[in-house]
């Protein structure tokens, strides 16, 4: 049976196919069947009948074209090629015509909503999954592109920040230490994911590809570096671009060492109910303005974001201006590490989960935040811009969700004392140089003594601020803060290089400031009878890098850390006034 619509139901052509008849210059040389053969020849080669086309006459031109068809398409030896239409010619022309008539294969179905999945769930059965393999192969593709290509790995990383000079104007745009941290990084990931997905599709990878995320705030092994980032090779034996050369990450993390819960924990950020505002204890960060002294990082940015950067990257060599060691520790190298994107997908996920938690949690309604545009590049290398108002809802505006939607349980909103503003109650009176564990006593002036004493009642808010933190470079370790030996929080110096650079426009002053809610710790000190306004000792303790499994951490003294100077440690008190808001 002839299959093409053109040949089907043609008795003569069917008869020829069955080897009962032929078309030649002398037999059936005119008519509809001849026109059909000519049409099919033109499908095979649009230049096959240059003079007469499909004229329904089997003349010299058609006969020559049939002969050529037999030689080229049916591999008949030229000496044996006769210029009439026989069964093999009809059957092959029918096949060619049927293929041409078939509708183009439908494009692979595009999911309406992309789902970003937990990388540890993907690899629960085996170290590799189609999504992680596709990511690795796309990274390799992007790494092979020249840096001048906006869709290359190096260009995309430089959009964050880069050592490379002269800098493209599209580079060094990362927003830290302000309320633009979350929206900028959401846009950055969105376009990066589009570039990766295009590379995945071109490579025949899964059409529903979405960036996985690394939720490290879970039990072992999920608090260790995901397995695909530790394998030297892909399943096909080729080098794995997700694993950096030795030194690229902290050795212990690369070997599968566990992150501390104290570093991965996002509960303080998630408990905050305000996105922006003064005081340093907001979810999303302070307002960005040129002369803003309170411009501070949001709690989610400080932890886990900043801390994971430093703990995963580890210490960098002094004076390093390249990206060979400790990539995640320096914003100018961080996005070159493929784990960067999974870390940021997790931060982006936490933003969604925070909004889901209710209790008044909402994005800023301020037009300065909503209308602020940032520029990126899409998968075709075209410059694109988005504003804050374009990215408020990832599902409806950007077409992606996370696999943990909807949120499990909303944490109870904490009572946030917003008025009157916290007052200084006690502070250190000399700068503190930190190269190892150091303890300083807070000076309590006579006039604020009663304020400090009232802290033993729970109705009073307390904030411990670590101020004017300066260092020439990020030491690549994080620092625990303890009040009378009880841990209040952890801080890192992520981004200090950019803030130190006198030529770099960046939120966050040289002299970082981190504020921690100390109310819980003070309450526990009171309950243990260890609260003494005359002996408020704050300890700053560098945390050694995560050791490889089974090994002891190195002594902090052996690390030869660059000096970190803390200008002041201050205890602020917010007394519950009449306009305290919940």
């Amino acid at each position: 049976m002839l299959r093409s619509q053109l040949f089907a139901n043609d008795a003569l052509l069917q008869s020829i196919a069955d080897d009962n008849d032929r078309i030649s210059r002398t037999r059936h040389s005119r008519g509809d069947s001849v026109r059909k053969v000519q049409t099919a020849l033109l499908t095979w080669d649009p230049g096959a009948l240059p003079r007469f086309g499909a004229d329904a006459v089997y003349g010299n031109e058609t006969a020559a074209a049939v002969r050529r068809f037999k030689i080229e398409e049916l591999s008949v030896a030229p000496a044996q090629a006769i210029d009439d239409v026989g069964p093999r010619t009809v059957i092959r022309l029918d096949e060619i015509q049927a293929a041409a008539e078939a509708p183009p294969p439908p494009p692979p179905p595009t999911p309406t909503l992309f789902v970003r999945r937990d990388v540890w769930t993907l690899q629960s059965a085996a170290p590799w999954d189609p999504i992680t393999i596709a990511y690795a192969r796309a990274v390799r593709t992007m790494q092979a592109r020249p840096m001048s290509d906006p869709t290359s790995w190096a260009f995309q990383a430089a959009i964050h920040a880069s050592f490379v000079t002269p800098a493209n104007p599209a580079w060094n745009g990362c927003q830290h230490a302000s309320w633009f941290f979350l929206p900028w990084h959401r846009m950055y990931l969105f376009f990066f994911e589009k570039i990766v997905r295009a590379a995945v599709l071109a490579d025949g990878g899964p059409s529903d590809f979405a960036l996985p995320y690394w939720n490290y705030d879970q039990a072992t092994p999920r608090n260790t570096l995901p397995q695909p980032f530790r394998e030297p090779t892909l399943p096909d034996g080729t080098p794995n671009p997700l694993m950096l050369p030795a030194g690229g990450r902290s050795a212990g993390i690369q070997a599968g060492g566990q992150l501390r819960t104290a570093d991965t924990d996002s509960s303080n950020a998630m408990a905050s109910t305000i996105f922006t505002g003064p005081g340093g204890t907001t979810f999303g960060g302070g307002v960005s303005a040129p002369a803003h002294f309170d411009g501070e990082s949001g709690m989610l940015e400080l932890q886990p974001h900043n801390i994971i950067h430093v703990v995963v990257g580890g210490p960098r060599p002094a004076g390093a201006t390249n990206c060979n060691v400790g990539l995640m520790t320096d914003p100018r190298c961080a996005a070159l590490d493929p784990i960067f994107w999974l870390h940021h997908a997790n931060i982006d996920r936490l933003w969604n989960r925070w909004l889901d938690s209710g209790g008044g949690r909402a994005n800023p309604a301020d037009s300065a935040w909503l209308t602020q545009q940032f520029g990126f590049f899409d998968e075709t290398g075209t410059a694109v811009r988005l504003a804050g108002s374009d990215i408020l809802d990832s599902a409806t505006q950007l077409n992606y969700v996370y696999d943990d939607r909807p949120t499990p349980v909303a944490p109870p909103p904490r009572v946030t004392p917003v008025a009157p503003p916290p007052e200084l109650g006690a502070a250190t009176d000399q700068v503190i140089d930190v190269t190892r564990r150091v303890t300083a006593r807070l000076v309590v002036p006579d006039s604020t003594r009663s304020l400090i004493e009232r802290l033993s009642s729970r109705a009073v808010g307390a904030f411990l601020a670590i101020e004017n933190i300066e260092a020439e470079r990020n030491p690549g370790v994080v620092f625990d803060i303890l009040l009378n030996e009880r841990r209040v929080g952890t801080f890192s110096l992520f981004g200090i290089e950019l803030m130190n650079d006198p030529d770099h426009v960046h939120d966050g002053a040289p002299g970082l400031r981190h504020t921690f809610d100390a109310a819980e710790v003070i309450a526990s000190l009171v309950s243990m009878n260890r609260w003494d306004p005359d002996a408020l000792d704050v300890t700053v303790e560098p945390v050694p890098p995560v050791p490889p499994p089974g090994e002891e951490p190195v002594a902090i003294e052996d690390l030869d850390l660059p000096p970190v100077r803390i200008g002041r440690i201050a205890l602020f008190v917010a007394e519950a006034g009449p306009d305290l808001v919940a």
Binding site: A291, H292, F293, P420, P421, L424, V443, S447, H504
Partner: protein, 225 residues
Amino acid sequence: MNRLTARHPQWWVAVAVAVAWLVLLAGLLAGGHHHAPRYRASTVDDMGGWMLMAFAMTVPLTLPAVRYVARNSIRSRRQRAMVLYLAAYLGVWAAFGIVALTIVWLAGEPLHKVLVIGLLIVAAGWQLTRTKRRALLACRRTVPLPPEGRRADVACLRFGVRQGWRCVVSCWPLMLLMAVVTNVLWMVALAIVMYAEERTTTGRRLVRPMAAVLAAIGTAAALLA
């Protein structure tokens, strides 16, 4: 009101700035005929006028720092801390004023026109320098403030000197220009330019375009002279 003053402990400084502008504008109304730039005749008697102008023009630039000083001091020390900070900040501007007025006096009246044109061109060029840019970016640098005692006083003074000096580096050509020209309308225009550059995001973007504006005014003044 209590809530407002608690949130903005620097409110009285802002009021003082408004009063300074009222005094300056009253001078404009009283001597309304001074529409064209007038040139200074003497120096030392003008120190009072210079400080009034410096207060009105440069204190608005540093109000966020005044607020920072207040909120980072214990309640009983707030006023003292703000006054010490402002005294140091204005002290830097006073020192600059002495230098500026002396230059103007030494140049003598015949050279004032040349000085104005020259300073407009210099101001235009200064807008494009790395030093200017760095001075603007350094605006958020702070000094740790101990809670009490002499150390606290010294820290407030040190912060004031630092911010004053940073501000002088950023704006000196425009303020030197104001030592030559005393027209209040110029004062208002330049104060707006300085405020925008120092305190607003839009103003930061206009630092370079402003160079073109200043150069154009300078060229026009040269052609008309």
